[in-house]
Amino acid sequence: MAAPGPGEYFSVGSHVSCLTCLGQQLQGEVVAFDYQSKMLTLKCAPSSGKANVSDVVLINLAYVSEVDIINDRTETPPPLASLNVSKLANRARSEKEDKLSQAYAISFGVSVEGQQLFQTIHKTIKDCKWQEKNIMVMDDVVISPPYQMENCKGKEGSALSHVRKIVEKHFRDVESQKSVQRPQAQQTQKDSTLSS
C-alpha cells in the first residue's frame, strides 16, 4: 500500500492503473483525486457496454498496492458543469424506493416476470406498488400472478384497459426481444400508451 508521495498527483485526464489490496485491477481515466482522503476517482469503460454511460470507480489509495500512470495528461481539465442537485436527490430517493419496493416484492417471492412487469408498469405509471404478490396500479387495477393480461382486474374503464395494454405490450416485447429490448419495450409501451 504505497501511499502517494508528497506532490504525487493524479492529474485529471490521466489514465491510471492500480491494484487494490484485494487484488482487483482497476484502470481508468482520472476524474478526481482527493489528497486528504486519498480517494481517487476513475472513469472506466462501462461494464454494460452501453453508450453514453461509464462506470465510475472510487478507489481508496490507502488500499492500493500499485499505481501506474499509463499516460499523463497535462491538458487543462474541462470545466465542471453545474449540477442539478434536486434532480440528483430525486434520483437518489426514487432509486431507493425502487430498491425497497423491489426488495419488498422479492421478499414475497414474486417471480422475475412479475418483477419485470412491475418495472415496466412503474416506468409508465408511477402509482404502482406491490401488494403481496399482486401489483396494485393506481389503486384500481390489480395484477395478480402470473401477471398476464387476463390477470388484470379492476373497475372497467380507461384505467383497466390502459393497464392491460401496457401488460400486453410488455409481454409481447419480452417475447419478441427477450431481455435485451426492455428499453424499447418500454418505449413501445409508452408509444402504445400515448397512442391509446
Binding site: T20, Q24, A32, F33, N52, V56, N60, L88, L100
Partner: protein
Amino acid sequence: MRMVHVLTSLVGTNCELKVKNGMVYDGVFKTYSPECDLVLDAANIKSPGPSVGLRQEDLVDSIIFKASDVVVVHFRDVDFNYARKVSTDTDNFTDTAVGGRINGEHKEKDLEPWDGGRQQHMVSGSLESLDTDVSNGWDPNDMFKYNEEQYGIKSTYDSSLSTYTVALERDNSEEFLKREARAAQLAEEIEASSTYKSRVALENDERSEEEKYTAVVRGEREQHTLNREKYIPPGQRNREGMSWGPGRQNSPRLVQSSSGPPRPGLHDYTPSSGADQRVVNGGATSCPSPSSRYQSGPSPLPPRAATPTRPPSRPPSRPSRPPSHPSAHGSPAPISTIPSRRMSSEGPPRMSPKTQRTPRTHRVPPGSRVPPGVDFMPHNAPGEVPVPPATRSSSSGGTWSSVVSGAHRPRSPRQNSMGGASPGPSPQTGSTPVEPVNTPRSASSPTASPAPNMAAASSAEVKDSRVQATRQNSPTVNKENMKPLESPPSINRPLSKGPPSMAPDHRKQIDNLKKFSVDFRLQSSSNPDPQFQQMVTKPPQDTGEKSKQLPLDKGLEGSEGPVVPARSNKPDSPGAPSPSSTLCPAPEQNRGPDVTSQGVQTSAPNLSGGAKPEDKEEDEADQMRKSTLNPNAHEFKPRVFTPQPKPATTPTPPRPQGQPSPSIVMQQPQQVYFPQMYPLTPVSPGVQKSIIWKSPAMYHVQMPHMTLSQSKPYRTVPNMTQQRSDQHHPQGTPTMMHPAAGPPIVAQSPAYSAQYFTCSPQQFASQQLMPHYQSQAQHVFSPVIQGQARMMAPPTHGHPGQLVSSTSQYGEQTHTMYVSQGPMPQQYAHPNTTLHPQPSATPTGQSQQGVQHGGNHPAPSPVQQHQAAAAAQALHMGNQPQQQMYQALAPTPPSMTPGPNPQSPQGSFSSAQQAVYLHPQQMQHGYNPSHMAHMQQVSSTFRSPSLHSEYILYEQAHIQSGMVPSHHGNPGHPQMMLMATQQQGGPQPQLAQNALNPIPVSSTAHFSYLAHPQVQQHHQQQL
C-alpha cells in the same frame, strides 16, 4: 473540488462498495462527507450468489461508510450528464451544449451543418422559398395533400369561404367601377380626416413619453416667474418676503398690524382717502399680495394673505385695480418701473408717482409701523422697500412702495396698481367728484398727478438715496421724499387722484377708480368720513368737528390729505408718542382732515412745503398736527358720510390747493396719507391693512374727536409726524414721531413696550407699537393711533422712530419705508377721496388740522429727533432697540433689505408675532376699557384676521350698507369705515371707538386692523 463534483454527480446511482474485509455492499449512493465518508441508502450486503434473493429484511435504510473502511466503490453505468444542468436552459441549444450531450465522452461531437434544402424540397420547396414566401409554415394545400396521402383524409376546405361569406364578383360593369371608386373615395376621405390622422399619430407619435407627459413645458408661467424674478430680484421680494414673511407671517398680527397693518393703514389711508385706493390698493394689494407673493414681496402679500380680509379686499379691489392701476400708473406712468412688474401701463404710470409716493408713504407708514414697517422698510429699503410696498401694496401703498423701489417695481406694479388704484380712485374722485371724497381726491389727484411724478422721482430718488445713501442719507433723501410724500400727502392724495388724472391710464383708472371710488366712496367716504371725521373730529374738536372736519377733510384731503397724516403726526408729537401711533390712524383720518385742512389751511403750506422737502416735512408736521385734527374728524365720520358728499364738492377746492403743491406735497402727503390712508384703508375694504389702519385712524379720529379731540389729534398728529418722520425719517416726521412715540412708549410702553420689545426684535413696528401702546395708554387715541401706527401706523410711528432710525440705519429700508409712504400718499389720495368727503364736511377742521399738522410737523421732527437722539423714551428705546435691531439687521439689510428682513424676520417674526399678540392685548385692552362687544369680537377674532375683517365688514356693512359692497377689496376699509361710521354715528367717541375698536381688531387681525383696534380701544379707553 473535482472529487466533490464527481461524487455529487453520482448521487442517486447504484453502487457496489467494497470494504477492507472484502464485504461488498450494494446500495444507492446517497451522500458523502468532506472526509469522503460515504452513505448508501437501501444498502444490502451483496451476496456472491445470484442477484435474485433480495429481501426486504436484508435492506438497511442507510449505511455510513468511513472513508478509511472503503476500498473501492464501483458505480455502474453512470450518466454524467444526468444531473448536468442543461446549462442554464439558455445555452441548451448552443453548439457546446449540444455537443456536450455526448455523455461522458470528452471528444467533441461532430456537428453537422443542417441542410434544410433537401428536406424542404421534400415537402414544399426550399428554405429560400420560405424566406421569400409570406406563408406561415406549411401551405394549407400541402397539409391537405400530406394528410390525404398519409392518412387518406380528404379536406373539405374551401378557400372561398363560401360558407361564411359571399365572394366579391368582379366585373367591368359601371356599377362595379362606381362602387369601387366610391370605396376608394371613402377610404381616402377617412384617411385624410384629422381624426384618423390624429389617431394614427398617436400610434406613430415619435415623441418620447417624457416629452408627451413628463417634460416640463415652460411657457407663460416661466415668463411670469421671470417677471416675478424681475420683481423679486430687487431683493424686495426676499426682503419683503423676509420682512413680511417673518415679521408679518410670524407675527402676522403684529407684523401685519405693525408692518402690514401699518402699511395697510397707510394704504388704507391712501385707499381710505380713496376708496379707490382700497379697491385699487385692494386690487393692488390683492394683486400685490399675489404679485408681491409672486414676485418678491409675497411676504408682504402673504402677511396680507395671512389676513384674510386683505386678500378678499384685494381681490375685489383687483378688478378695480387694473383700472385704478392704470390710472394711478398712468399718472405715475413715469414710474414705469412699476409697470415693469405688472403691466407697463399700470406699473409705471400708476404708480411711479404713486408708488413713489406710496412707497414713501408706505415707507413712512412702515416707519410709523416702524416695527413691522421698519422691518419691511429696511427690507424693502434695499429690496424691502418693495416689500413694504408689497405689504402695503397689498393695501396699495406697499405695492407702490415696492414699485418705487426699482426692484420692487415688479411688485410695485401691483403695489403700483394698488397705489394706482388708490390714485385711480382719487382720480375717479377727482374726475368724478361724485362723492365729496372724490372731489377731494380729484383735487388731490391733480396735485397727485404731478405729485406722483414727483413722488416717482422722489421715490426714485428715495430709492437711490435709500439704496445708495446710508440711512441717514437715505433718510435725508427719504426725508425729502418723505417730505415730498408728506407734502405729497396732500400731494399724494393729489397723486393718487392726480395720477389718475395724470395719465391716460389714469383716465381708465380714474374710471375704474371712479367706480371704485363711488363704491368706495360709500365705504371710503364712510371710511374717509370716519377718518376724516376723526381728522375732522379732531379738528372739529379744535374747531367744529363734523362741519369742520368735512371741510377740513375735504380741503385737507384734497390738497393736504397726505399732509394731514403728517399733521396727524404732528398732533401726535404734540399729543404724545402714542398719538404718533394713534396719530397714524388719526393721521389718516387727520390726514384726511389734515389734508383737507392742509389743503385748505395747511395745504398751501404743505403744497409750498411739499414742493420743498423741508417744507413738506413741515407740512407733514403740520399734517401731523392736522392729523390730530383729523382724528377729531373721525368722529365726524358719520358726518363725513354726509360730508363726503360735501367733500366732493368742497374737497376739490382743497385738492386744487393740494394739487399745486402736489408733486412735492404729494410725496409727503403720501406719507401722511399712508398713516391716514391706513386708517382710511381699513375703511376701504380693498386695502385690508389700509382698511384696518384707516379704521383705527377713523377710530382714532373719532376717539380723539369724541373724547380728546385735540389730544387725540395731537396723538394722531404725533403719529402723523412719526409717520412722516418715518417717511421723512430723519427730519420732521421722525422727530414728530419720536415725540409722539417716545412719550407714549414711555408711558404705556411698559407692557406693550415689553411685548413690543419682544416683538420689536422683529421689527420696530413692535416697538412702535409699544410706543404706540404707551401712547395709547396715555391717550386712548394716541394709543389707538399708536396701535394703528404700530399696525398700520407702525410705519408712521415706527417710521418716525423706526423709519428714522431705520432710515438712518436702513437707508434703503427707510427709503422703502418712504416709498411705502409714497404709496401711502397715494392711498391717502384715495383716502382723500374718502377723506375728502370728510374734509369737505369739515374744511375748517381740516384747516385746523392743517394748522395742527403744521405744528405737529415741527413737533414731530423734534420728537423724531428726540427719539433718535434720546433712547430715553421708552418708545424711543423700543424703537431704538428695534431700530438697532433693524440696524443690526439692517447693516446687512440696508443694501440687502432681504437680508435684514431674514434676520429681522426671525427676530421680526417672533417680534412680529409678539407684536401681534401685543396688538391683541392692546386690542383687548382697548376693548376691555371700552367694554365694547365689538372689541371683544375683534379680540376674539383677532387672530383670525379674516374674521376681523369680516366683522369689520359686517359692521361696516351694517353701518354702511353701501360702503362695504362697493369696496370688495376694501372690506376692511369699509368695515373700518363702518366702524368709524358706527362709532362716529353712535356713541361717537365711545361707541365709535368701540366700533372702531372692533374694526381695528379686525384690522389688527389682519394686523393693521388689530393694531387699529387696539389703538382704537386705547383711544376708547382713554376716551
